[in-house]
């Protein structure tokens, strides 16, 4: 038996080197990215692109990368296939709408690894990754309620999908810890990136008496509109302080680089496995820009909340929480499970909007 073991081990090792499908190590890798917007949009897509560059730099010359930008979600399968056939080892598709096209292409290219951001479908060679943006939204809500004079914040939202609804709910829940009567107006622009529509939404909200703006869209237009009117706003996806030096309170920063480095490393090591990853402040995929343009005590409170979420002592969706219609959602002390959050299609109490159905 003792003699058998090394032989078995050797045989296993040999068979591993002979079957390069699952565990082959490789010296170099080519990573490819699909962006829904421009790689210089100042927000979502740029955050992914900065992470791509950081990842490339991390590996020295061992990893090369390329990207395709402004890819229409409607016709993305062809784009993803073109990448798959152009020698990519791993392909990151970074918008919700790329989910089914990614899956479709992944089925045809079993040897290539696919990573889809913000979706829920996976396969043996397709992982899903996302960030708990709502953790940052909760902190934003607290800040907004602390410094708003009108007691109304405006929310420029993209599409009524769970990820966005989570953010709206977390924002109002955070605000209610400071001011139970705080009110939140929502405008849907039905686009991830449309500076014109985003700016119009900002103006409409400000005309309605909103004195804090936050956005779940990708351009810096709302920040610039807020700056022009002299009110405060939150940045999205990237630190947008340059668009509003006197305006930005903080920003939710998407820090994808550590994740990209980890996953590309796994490709190099031959240890890549499909997974569903939903990280947040604790893992560092989400970070907050410096708390600026606010009194010190508000900044201190925000930092404290951030730390509490990071250490796990605070979960933004902890009961008691009522739905918009007043019915109970979470009982005292109950914490929402991920399944519910990932399919969230209802508002909590306090949101001054009708969820588009």
């Amino acid at each position: 038996m003792k003699q058998l073991l090394p032989i078995l081990a050797a045989a296993t090792a040999l068979s591993l080197t002979l079957t390069p499908v699952a565990f082959a190590q490789q010296d170099t890798a080519h990573a490819c990215f699909v962006y829904v917007g421009s790689h210089t949009d100042g927000g979502w897509s740029q955050a992914h692109d900065l992470a791509r560059l950081e990842m490339e730099e991390h590996f020295g010359g061992a990893v090369t990368s390329t990207f395709v930008e402004n890819v229409s979600e409607a016709a993305s399968a062809g784009t993803i296939e073109r990448l798959a056939r152009s020698g990519c080892d791993i392909i990151f598709t970074t918008s919700f709408g790329f989910m089914d096209p990614t899956l479709e292409v992944a089925e045809r290219f079993p040897d290539i690894k696919f990573e889809h951001a913000t979706g829920y479908k996976t396969a043996d060679n397709m992982a899903a990754y996302n960030s708990r943006f709502y953790e940052g939204r909760y902190i934003q809500g607290q800040i907004a309620a602390s410094i708003s004079e009108t007691g109304i914040a405006g929310y420029i939202a993209s599409f009524p999908i769970p990820e966005v609804v989570q953010g709206i709910n977390a924002f109002i829940l955070g605000a209610q810890t400071v001011n139970p009567d705080f009110s939140l107006r929502v405008v849907w622009v039905n686009s991830w990136y449309d500076p014109g529509a985003e700016a119009d939404a900002a103006k409409v909200l400000m005309d309605q008496g909103v004195d804090i703006l936050t956005q779940h869209t990708d351009s810096t237009a709302p920040m610039q509109e807020a700056a022009a009117r002299g009110i405060k706003a939150f940045g999205q996806a990237l630190d947008m302080i340059e668009a509003g030096p006197e305006t930005q309170l903080t920003a939710i920063i998407d820090s994808w680089a550590p994740y990209y480095i980890e996953r590309v490393q796994a490709v190099l090591d031959g240890t890549w496995e499909s997974a569903e990853i939903w990280h947040g402040l604790p893992e560092g995929i989400l970070t907050m820009a410096p708390y600026t343009n606010m009194p010190d005590d508000v900044a201190a409170m925000a930092a404290e909340t951030e730390e509490a979420i990071r250490s796990g002592t605070l979960h933004p969706f902890t009961g008691p929480i009522a739905r918009q219609d007043g019915s109970e959602w979470l009982a005292e002390g109950e914490i929402a499970d991920d399944g519910t959050l990932l399919s969230m299609n209802f508002y909590v109490q306090g949101v001054d909007d009708q969820l588009p159905e």
């Binding site: 395709v68 229409s72 409607a74 399968a77 296939e81 073109r82 709408g97 089914d100 599409f159 999908i161």
Partner: protein, 379 residues
């Protein structure tokens, strides 16, 4: 004030007319080469990647055909509209409504699965697109409304209806609340023509057949003659006993039906489900296709393939040369500009004049209703 006038040439050179697309293409290639070398890219490599590489592999040709099919269908249909002086620029909306009407079967009657489904989907899609196009036609024929405005505005209405359906009543119950319909079952998919090679489906065959049929109608039948006479001169058409109101309906319904068919081919082909956005602007690109094809349905086949190629080429250039998406679009725009400009300048000459010439105004006004300047407006 210096006026710029376009005056129709009496005898446009026949050779130039034939060569015009090639001249436009060459000018665009030269401009593109200059642009790419200013960006520090090898112009030869860039042009190769743009125009040749997408054609070197079978699967990529399939992708080309997938993209070209809706463009050809809609471009050919729109040609009928524009030839008859009916400015339907809402093909995008007719595309969406056709897709919705056709999707009724796989989305609402999921148990209805047999070979009858696909033909029914096609019929409903044609009807859906035609009915949607019928609205601007009716308003124009009845109340003399501006069909450009109405057809364009109805695009946004159609987009909202699609958006509403996939988020609300037609949302996939098993889809975690995400905005998408159920995936179509296999009877509701447009069959692939050579599945071992790539994804291209029957759509391209249908598109070409429809284009040929429309060409036959235009060039070989009385109806086609009527389209052209009414387009060139409604007054002459009336003398011939043709009804310009009837022509409004005919052209809009044909174009709308084509767009609806393109819509169902797109969703039942490449994507297999409804999503909030089902078209990357095919309906608007089809306007360019119609004019690039010189309002000839057979020309639309070539123009649809060329435009589809520039989309794929733009993508390939991003992937292999890191040429930005914006540069690709500038290049596309340059290409179209040159081709349309060549056509215009071969048929018209430019005159600069200082004095307000009464006759000139009339001619300029008349010529602005002719094809090429209108094309630029529509684009």
């Amino acid at each position: 004030m210096i006026r710029v006038e376009l005056l129709r040439r009496d005898n446009p050179s026949r050779a130039l007319r034939l060569l015009s697309p090639l001249i436009g293409l060459s000018l665009a290639l030269i401009t593109g080469a200059i642009m790419f070398s200013l960006m520090g890219k090898n112009p030869a490599a860039a042009l190769y990647v743009y125009f040749i590489e997408p054609l070197t592999e079978a699967w990529s040709v399939h992708e080309l055909l997938i993209k070209a099919a809706p463009l050809i269908l809609m471009g050919a249909g729109l040609s009928i509209c524009y030839l008859s002086n009916n400015w339907n620029i809402g093909a995008e909306g007719q595309f969406i409504m056709g897709a919705l009407a056709g999707s009724i079967f796989p989305v609402l009657f999921t148990d209805f699965q047999n070979p009858m489904v696909l033909p029914l989907m096609f019929i409903f899609a044609v009807a859906g697109g035609a009915l949607w196009a019928g609205i601007p036609a009716l308003l124009k024929a009845r109340f003399n409304t501006n069909e450009i405005l109405v057809s364009l505005m109805l695009v946004y209405v159609a987009e909202r209806i699609l958006d509403y359906l996939v988020r609300g009543p037609w949302r996939n119950p098993g889809g975690m609340n995400f905005p998408e319909s159920v995936r179509f079952h296999s009877y509701a998919r447009v069959p692939e023509i050579m599945p071992w090679d790539g994804r291209a489906n029957l759509g391209i065959v249908i598109a070409i057949l429809v284009a040929i049929a429309l060409w036959f109608m235009l060039s070989r039948t009385l109806k086609g003659f009527e389209v052209k006479v009414i387009g060139a001169s409604p007054r002459a058409g009336r003398f011939a006993g043709f009804s310009s109101k009837g022509m409004i309906f005919f052209s809009f319904l044909v174009a709308g039906g084509c767009a609806g068919l393109a819509g169902i081919i797109e969703v039942a082909g490449a994507s297999a489900q409804l999503r909030p956005i089902i078209s990357p602007g095919y309906g608007f690109t089809a306007i360019i296709v119609a004019f690039l094809g010189r309002l000839n349905p057979l020309g639309a086949i070539a123009a649809g393939l060329i435009l589809a190629l520039t989309y794929l080429g733009g993508e390939a250039a991003q992937i292999s040369l890191q040429i930005s998406d914006k540069a690709s679009r500038v290049f596309q725009g340059t290409l179209l500009l040159y081709i349309l400009a060549c056509d215009t300048l071969i048929h018209y000459r430019i005159r600069f004049s200082r004095k307000p010439a009464a006759k000139g105004i009339e001619q300029a006004a008349a010529s602005s209703e002719q094809q090429p300047p209108a094309a630029e407006r529509a684009v």
